[in-house]
């Protein structure tokens, strides 16, 4: 996916005045938030399960090397070919090698955010292979030539009306805004692709080390078509997705679906363990899995490791007031919202996503709902520290932080400065006691007045009263 995270501020400016996006984000509003809150009441020991889920993820990550090797061994024993991709480019190279070795002309895809990281669709199309997205949201976006704006609801930024226009234009059908009819239309378009594709690509929500299985958790059923109909199935997922046992998965999945869409369980939970075995009625002839590093192992053993706990539920973005106002595209890469503000700089380089860790009030709404208790505000702060230490922030910002630290650390100087400052600002505030412009603080005064200070500091007033 094309990276634009370095121009976050101008992305934001555009998104805030995009009337269509603003209307769609308002409509989407708190739907996932409310659904999550309602369904969580089913779980009477939520906090205990969150603690257990975080511990499972930590255990998986602390022994990632050995669990991955166990996974590889068990998966191979069931006939799956396991490929290791160190970089995003490796993902595309390996996939194209498999495709070309088997004369693949058409690929059907179920959702894989990891394949967005490497821009897989463009890469295969460049060598003459057609890739068709089959998740409804991803299908819509492929028709519209847009990237996803949410990790589980990729087309959430689009309205029914927009989809109706798009389908009518691309499918040459009468325009309809009836959602079931639109779904039927997409199904009719996709069915021939399922039947004629030579390869199916899916993501993988989890890898189960003890069985060598790939788990996918979905709602639309296309995941089953993609992984069983074509003669080759390739799952692409990150190395951090491993879980030691099926039992661990049973704990995690209780939180995943509830945190994501507010469902007790999704329509389909599939365990894929190797190609079609003797006596099986269906399944692919070849089963491959591409395990992707692409920056993940760099986080291991650092304070950022906790970010790898992420199970991609999207609750952090659903609950983030920044995301709710700007949508996912503004973040400029695959993963938006709070987790994106952490993963994007970690994977593509802090210097390419400098504003993302700043794109949060640190309000903590994300941390409260994260099913695996990732301390998202703390991790954003760690990235802010790295930016500050490496001198990546603008000079005036670094200077003002240092000046304030110096003042706050010298009470007499602080007193002198603040006493003078509040007097000046009080006068400038005039009759209405409001400052409409403050040099250097345009970021504030462009949209808000600054209520003027009272004119004396508490410390001086208190001293006078008590002397």
């Amino acid at each position: 996916m094309q990276l634009t995270s370095f121009s976050f501020k101008s992305n934001v400016r555009r998104k805030l005045i995009d009337p269509l996006l603003q209307r769609n984000m308002k409509r989407f509003g708190g739907r996932f938030v409310e659904a999550r809150a309602a369904v969580m009441t089913e779980v009477d020991n939520l906090e205990t399960i969150r603690v257990a889920a975080a511990a499972i993820r930590d255990r998986s990550l602390a022994n990632l090397d050995s669990y991955l090797l166990t996974f590889e061994e068990r998966a191979r024993a069931r006939g799956t070919e396991v490929h290791w991709a160190e970089t995003a480019q490796d993902v595309n190279r390996i996939l194209i090698e498999i495709a070309q070795a088997n004369g693949v002309k058409k690929i059907v895809k179920s959702k894989s955010m990891v394949s967005e990281e490497s821009g897989l669709n463009d890469a295969v199309e460049a060598v003459g292979i057609q890739a068709v997205e089959t998740d409804l949201g991803e299908y819509i976006l492929q028709l519209a030539h847009e990237p996803p704006s949410h990790i589980i609801a990729p087309a959430i930024h689009k309205s029914v009306e927009e989809v109706a226009e798009l389908f009518s234009e691309k499918h040459h059908t009468p325009r309809s805004t009836d959602i079931p009819a639109l779904c039927r239309e997409a199904r009719e378009q996709l069915r021939p692709h399922f039947l004629s594709a030579d390869m199916g690509i899916s993501g993988g929500n989890f890898l189960i080390a003890e069985t060598g299985s790939v788990v996918i958790v979905t709602n639309e059923g296309n995941g089953r078509m993609v992984t069983t109909l074509p003669k080759i199935h390739v799952a692409i997922t990150g190395i951090e997705k491993v879980l030691p046992t099926l039992n661990d998965f049973s704990t995690i999945v209780r939180l995943l679906t509830r945190s994501a869409t507010g469902q007790s369980i999704t329509n389909y939970v599939s365990m894929l363990t190797g190609p079609r075995q003797e006596g099986d009625l269906d399944g692919p002839e070849q089963s491959h899995i591409i395990l992707v590093d692409s920056g993940r192992s760099r986080l291991l053993g650092t304070e950022m490791q906790k970010a790898l706990r992420c199970i991609r539920c999207g609750a952090c973005m659903n609950h983030c007031p920044v995301y709710q106002n700007i949508g996912g595209h503004a973040y400029g890469w695959v993963y938006p919202g709070p987790i994106g503000a952490i993963l994007t700089p970690s994977y593509v380089g802090l210097e390419n996503a400098l504003d993302l860790p700043q794109a949060s009030t640190l309000c903590g709404a994300c941390q409260v709902v994260c099913p695996v208790k990732i301390p998202l505000p703390e991790l954003m702060r760690v990235l802010r520290e790295k930016s500050f230490e490496q001198g990546l922030r603008p000079w005036y910002e670094r200077l003002s932080v240092r000046m304030w630290r110096g003042l706050a650390n010298h009470p007499r100087l602080y007193a002198l400065f603040t006493q003078l400052g509040v007097r000046v600002l009080r006068v400038l505030g005039g009759k209405k006691k409001l400052l409409h412009r403050l040099p250097g603080l345009d970021g504030w005064t462009e949209g808000r007045d600054m209520p003027a200070p009272q004119g004396r500091t508490f410390r001086e007033l208190y001293r006078k009263k008590h002397s």
Binding site: A365, F388, A408, Q454
Partner: protein, 245 residues
């Protein structure tokens, strides 16, 4: 009970009357309140901007100023959260200092939390004519669990009617330096907050953190609203006081 008042830099500079209201509330409840004269800032603006040294320097200063008190009280959930949740972790190399900071943090309280849970204040002398809608500031709410405390106290103010807004827990967009660095998003978030608050037709928007209040008031005034009051909870609880200016 000797209580150290940490007035916070924003109140010190922008709204001293909140400091005096806090002082009055504590004294009325029988506390022996001391204002250490050399206090400045909790260090959060620098800390959240990525300068750990700001946090460390201010933590040491806070310890020197306040360690001798039975309790420390601040009219801010944000600054109290900084002290309670972040000071000790800034010194992983010095366990002895961490122990002292943890002990002091445990004695440091946000104002309404202190009044309700430590002093167990039952009666307030104050009166307020009108309806109030309460904005839950993020740090107080999520780091310190402050939710019912201010509401309980407002309920004891003669004449005050609480009128809850939709989504009182959603961030107003202040976020310290965020409000300047990403002012356009902050303004939009403040807009949403003002909308939710104004829908209640309350006479006053009240909260426990001056940063959020300046953000909300700043947006309200820019939008041309000159009548809706924006007040710190301490001002409501202590009642009107002659302006010390």
């Amino acid at each position: 009970m000797r209580v150290g008042l940490f007035v916070t830099c924003l109140v010190d500079m922008m709204r001293p009357r909140i400091g005096f209201a806090t002082l009055k509330l504590l004294q009325d409840a029988g506390c022996d309140v001391v204002v250490p004269p050399h206090q400045t800032c909790c260090g959060q603006p620098g800390f959240n901007s990525g300068d750990r040294e700001s946090g460390r320097a201010m933590a040491r200063r806070f310890l020197a100023d306040f360690e001798s008190f039975d309790h420390v009280v601040a009219p801010s959930g944000s600054c109290t959260g900084m002290i309670r949740c972040h000071y000790a972790e800034l010194f992983p190399e010095d366990p002895a200092l961490q122990t002292r900071l943890n002990a002091l943090s445990a004695r440091t309280f946000e104002l309404t939390d202190f009044l309700v849970n430590v002093l167990k204040v039952e009666r307030l002398e104050s009166a307020f004519q009108g309806s109030i809608t309460y904005h839950d500031s993020c740090s107080g709410l999520r780091e310190l669990g402050i939710k019912q405390q201010p509401r309980q106290l407002i309920g004891r103010v003669a004449g005050a009617r609480l009128q809850e807004m939709d989504k009182p827990e959603i961030c107003c967009g202040f976020g310290g330096t965020f409000s300047i660095k990403l002012g356009e998003i902050a303004t939009r978030m403040a807009d949403n907050k003002c909308q939710d608050a104004l829908t209640t037709k309350a006479d006053a928007i009240v909260g426990g953190d001056l940063g959020c209040l300046l953000n909300i008031e700043g947006r309200l005034r820019r939008l041309g609203d000159e009548t809706t009051q924006v007040l710190h909870v301490a001002e409501v609880l202590a009642g009107p006081e002659p302006d010390p200016n």
